[in-house]
Symmetry: C2
Subunit: 680 residues, 2 copies
């Protein structure tokens, strides 16, 4: 998707208030009714931590992926048990345990605030732009939450790179309980080797339940189709794709390709090696490292796909040509010149600033990899130190994460009983500090301030060994104590975060003003020009908000070899070698003779999805659930930048497999019954 | 260096039979005499394992880098001691211990064999080309060695990408003994963080001695200048740069940039993490992993520099333009068209074959990273299995490594008493097997043949646990037993290598014929056309043969900051934090008050060097040693593709620092005396 010209094939992640009804009718003879759209909106949900989900019974039963619930499974596992690895069944609704720190959001309302935001930002630049934006967003959110941030969540969402701004209001469920999860062997059968591959044989599934006032929430839902979809059938996914860069200006994509992506890829690759070897040190270490390792290996595959896509000259060439045409269109008319200016002239210095700040910013202040300060404990310390300072400011002047509307989420995260593994945390911190020194060099004054005469290993050992932040009560005490408690603390992790904070905030400010604000202004101007030229009729880049995609169940041609759309249980047993990650549990081995081996297991479809869509329901024309998205094929990885209908495939678990497995392998008739009935 | 047009600035790695005398005279008023050239040729040497060296006394005293002798230091360390880490002094010539498996070569004669080789290859293509080449090379080498492969080594060297072929005959020293090495803390002060950085404070030095018939060899040598060079002084390096790609066709550089480099970088990054974490498991593991880790981290910095250089559009743009001009020059004249044809038309299918074979070839047969079968023990098994099969063939049909002329080196390597660390070896093999499966996928028939139902970890544990190849005697027994011994062996590592061998050899054959032979033919045609158009007057890409570079001692301007050419001992003590890798030994700390702290320590110069130049002497106009190359600055890393005289710097130890350290820190008056006198 290179422009806002009409999308072809099954491309598109459409907002619920702008569905491609004409295309659907022309291509598939399907016209979604208002009721259909409302049902799909309300039966869909997202996990705030970064996944999609759906309601599949009237009593708040939620379906998502196993890999979306792994934190909860880990946190709830009693000592000596490992629910993440071995699976879990509550054994009836009254016994469902609450997931710590899990938040489920259901979209309630979309309001267009484009004009209001534009008015607030009119004519502003740099720091003035950033602070006006913060103030306006904060005001809009405050109104929307209406004094009840526990029940409502309101996000200001920039769509079409600023072509439009919308306020998304969500019903917030913070009491989410665990119903059922299969074992990790079947949830992630094939492990990293099979990740993003197809044919696939995964039951990547967890059932949760949303509660209100201590009781199962009453919800709209997708009735469960126990037969699953057919080859060639029109299907939809309703989920929350995290982000795409299909409309991103070429200058930013070049920076990504040449600087940011190689740095990220290098960091992740090394971390992959660190965690792999950490996990080989023993069974406990293997378990500790597992979740982080999964995330790292998953990202690595994604970034490998990005690198490959961006390395193809034609990827950026087409986008470059598109920008040239748009610029020519603007320049052809003085009125347009006046209206849109030269967005690329605004962009150039911003991209130059990003290029020169990137290494330092990512090491000291960035919140993703590469990072100079990694690990859960440092993350807590940073949130505490920063949160204390930010909360002392008026709401409108704070960083978004610390506005009043978001404080419940921050506090819930700080109070999470999720276990911290000190040895793993020390390893990750020592590794990141090593990278910090390597990236900024030992001559750097900030590096010298942080390390003093200590080595990265020694510093990490001292602060992880000495901190009490592994204890949620201590974290909440410091949180509640605010700035005074932080200033008085002698906890070495807090001391370290305090030392970093001035440099980090200074970089954040520069980044916000010199990079983000200008890039946003430029993107907005480009987007507005595109709107003026092409009109609406397309979809905005993904923003971790609800989107509908359409497509058909379909295999593809891989270098002359036809890959079928479906796999079956029979294929699973054929692929199982008995060695990790191709190993089945005894339960699955024993069930082989009882299972209908022809049951479809996983399937591929042309739906346009991306990271964040994990856990999305696949639904049919009747808004019945027929599948559960959990992955894409290897060709879907370029989807951040472009959609290729010939090979890009979404990968889902078939609902037929879910019901068959629940009944025959797990003998969980009550859950299977709830799915079939649609209520408890 | 983009073409054979005259090199500007101090660019160039010149062969000893084609020095840039005109440039030297014009720029520096220096005209090397025939005697000067002969002295420089004969006082220089190389370590067959991949470093440069020089003779610095008449009694065979050899100067090279600490990091070039680490294998010897490791291998010779008595149980409970660590000479690599703690340093070594023989305490007098009679006590110098022999380095196992170390070979030193001194260039004796260069013979042009261009015409002879061209005749042998005339009109041949694909498999016929490869086998004619093997046969002709073998014949030339056999004649040159003249039945004495122990004393002489003869390499057929392709220069100017086939524009010229030369026979390099070396005097071979296989009795090389250890004289002196400082501790690793000072040899590699600043470690990986400072590697390829400058200012720098390293005494990266080892002294060896070449022996003949059990006595110190009598050699030409570079008299030692105990004052070192001055700022701005004309200096030369005489060493063996390993390889550069300055004349490589663009299509091959694009493949490198887009496919091979990212794969290599990813593999090395992950291996870096694996080794880093392995080393954190304990002191013994730290020591075991150290050497491999050094190599990995060093390569990573190099490849990072490559990636950055190749990502700059202008790097390839200039080369592309140059090729276009050459093609136009050929096409402008029917006679030229007839003579040179269209080399790019030959190149295109070869590069396409390389692109499609690369992943499989690198995993199964390639001898560098990424690799599907890593570790010392697997390497031994492969050499034994392949060596047995190759030795059964006529010399002219064998792979180069197993021709009669090279068998002494293979046998010496197999017989090396260097310790094998089974846990480390198992780790590296398990890691590479994981990569093998990841790269070729679990669906691949070869992967299934190798792994069967075992996981990479289980397979690695079984074959490393069960093999006897850690014992040099067992390796030599199998070597001497030849094909029969290999066929009869039940050693699990041999069994594994035997299983891989047919696939590996099939890939090797395809690679040699479809990729290498065609790429070489195309490169040769391009090189011959360039010769015809531009004449001689430039230097060939590096080939790990002796080259002279000239330049001046000089700092550079780093983003507006002037970096001085010299560091001093005073700076070393200022930089020492007491934490690894900025930690000094007690010996160095104690010596501080006795040392002349103004002694120049390391220096930068504009000489054009590259990997393989490690250990090269820096000499002055009088052919006196004034320094010892051990590194380049960060800007030198793009030197594989282009030389930028503004920022590209070689980094060397000052001879003044060497003498001062020997006398004051190590109190090694006898060695200092030999350097000052020029003999024992």
């Amino acid at each position: 998707m290179l422009s806002l010209s009409p999308a072809v094939a099954d491309e598109g992640m459409w907002t619920m208030d702008n569905l491609p009804t004409k295309q659907l009718e022309q291509r598939y003879g399907f016209k979604p009714s208002a009721e259909w759209i409302a049902r799909v909106t309300q039966a869909s949900a997202r996990l705030a931590a970064g996944c999609s989900a759906s309601f599949v019974s009237a009593d708040g039963l939620v379906m998502t992926n196993h890999h979306c619930a792994n934190a909860c499974l880990d946190e709830l596992s009693p000592k000596g048990q490992n629910w993440f690895q071995d699976g879990f069944s509550a054994g009836g609704q009254p016994h469902e345990p609450k997931c710590p720190a899990m938040e489920l959001d259901r979209l309630d309302r979309i309001t267009d605030v484009t004009d209001r935001m534009a008015q607030a930002l009119d004519g502003k630049q740099g720091a003035a732009y950033t602070s006006a934006q913060k103030a306006a967003e904060s005001a809009v959110q405050q109104e929307c939450v209406a004094g009840d941030p526990t029940d409502w969540r309101c996000d200001v969402v920039t769509l079409y790179h600023g072509g439009r701004t919308a306020l998304y209001r969500y019903k917030r469920y913070q009491d989410v309980r665990l119903v059922f999860a299969p074992d990790q062997n079947i949830a992630f059968f094939g492990g990293d080797p099979d990740n993003f591959n197809f044919p696939r044989y995964d039951l990547d599934l967890t059932f949760l339940r949303a509660y209100e006032n201590g009781k199962p929430a009453k919800t709209q839902f997708f009735p469960f189709d126990v037969k699953g979809p057919s080859d060639g059938e029109l299907v939809f996914t309703s989920g929350n794709p995290g982000s795409t860069s299909r409309e991103e200006p070429v200058a930013q994509l070049e920076l990504l390709r040449d600087v940011e992506l190689p740095a990220t890829y290098g960091y992740l690759s090394t971390e992959d090696g660190v965690l792999w070897q950490y996990g080989r040190q023993g069974a406990a270490q293997h378990q500790e490292a597992q979740n982080v390792l999964f995330g790292v290996e998953n990202s690595l595959k994604v970034f490998t796909g990005w690198l490959q896509t961006l390395a193809q000259p034609e990827t950026l060439e087409k986008k470059r040509q598109n920008e040239t045409e748009l610029k020519q269109w603007i320049d052809a008319d003085p009125a347009r010149q006046k209206q849109f200016g030269d967005p690329w002239a605004i962009l150039a210095p911003a991209v130059a600033a990003e290029r020169s700040l990137y290494a330092r910013y990512s090491m000291i202040e960035g919140n993703r990899r590469p990072a100079g300060f990694a690990g859960q404990l440092y993350g807590y310390a940073r949130a505490l130190v920063r949160g204390a300072a930010e909360r002392a400011k008026p709401d409108a002047q704070r960083l978004a994460a610390y506005r009043d509307a978001n404080l419940p989420a921050v506090e819930a995260a700080l109070g999470s009983p999720a276990p911290v593994h000190p040895a793993l945390d020390e390893t990750l911190l020592a590794f990141s500090l090593t990278r910090l020194r390597q990236t900024l060099t030992a001559d750097d004054a900030f590096v010298q301030k942080v390390l003093g005469t200590e080595s990265p290993d020694a510093l990490a050992a001292r602060v992880v060994g000495g901190t009490k932040l592994g204890d949620p009560a201590e974290r909440l005490r410091l949180w509640k104590g605010g700035a005074a408690a932080i200033a008085a603390s002698t906890d070495p992790m807090i001391v370290l975060a305090r030392k970093v904070e001035p440099d980090a905030m200074a970089l954040r400010t520069r980044w916000d003003n010199e990079v983000d604000a200008a890039e946003q202004r430029a993107s907005e101007a480009i987007a507005r020009a595109r709107f003026a030229r092409d009109g609406t009729g397309s979809y905005p880049d993904a923003t971790f908000t609800q989107r509908l995609s359409f497509g058909v169940v379909k295999g593809w041609n891989e270098n002359g070899r036809q890959i079928p759309a479906f796999t079956t249980f029979e294929g699973l047993y054929r692929r199982a070698t008995g060695s990790d990650p191709f190993k089945l549990t005894r339960q699955w081995l024993d069930a082989k003779n009882r299972l209908n081996l022809n049951t479809p297991f996983d399937f591929a479809s042309t739906n346009d999805i991306i990271g964040g869509n994990s856990g999305s329901p696949v639904i049919d024309k009747n808004a019945h659930a027929v599948g559960l998205i959990f992955d894409g094929n290897i060709h879907s990885l370029g989807g951040d930048f472009t959609y290729d209908g010939a090979t890009n495939r979404a990968v889902a678990v078939d609902t037929a497999a879910i019901v068959e497995a629940l009944k025959v392998v797990y003998r969980n008739q009550s859950l299977a019954g709830e799915l079939e009935r649609g209520h408890l």
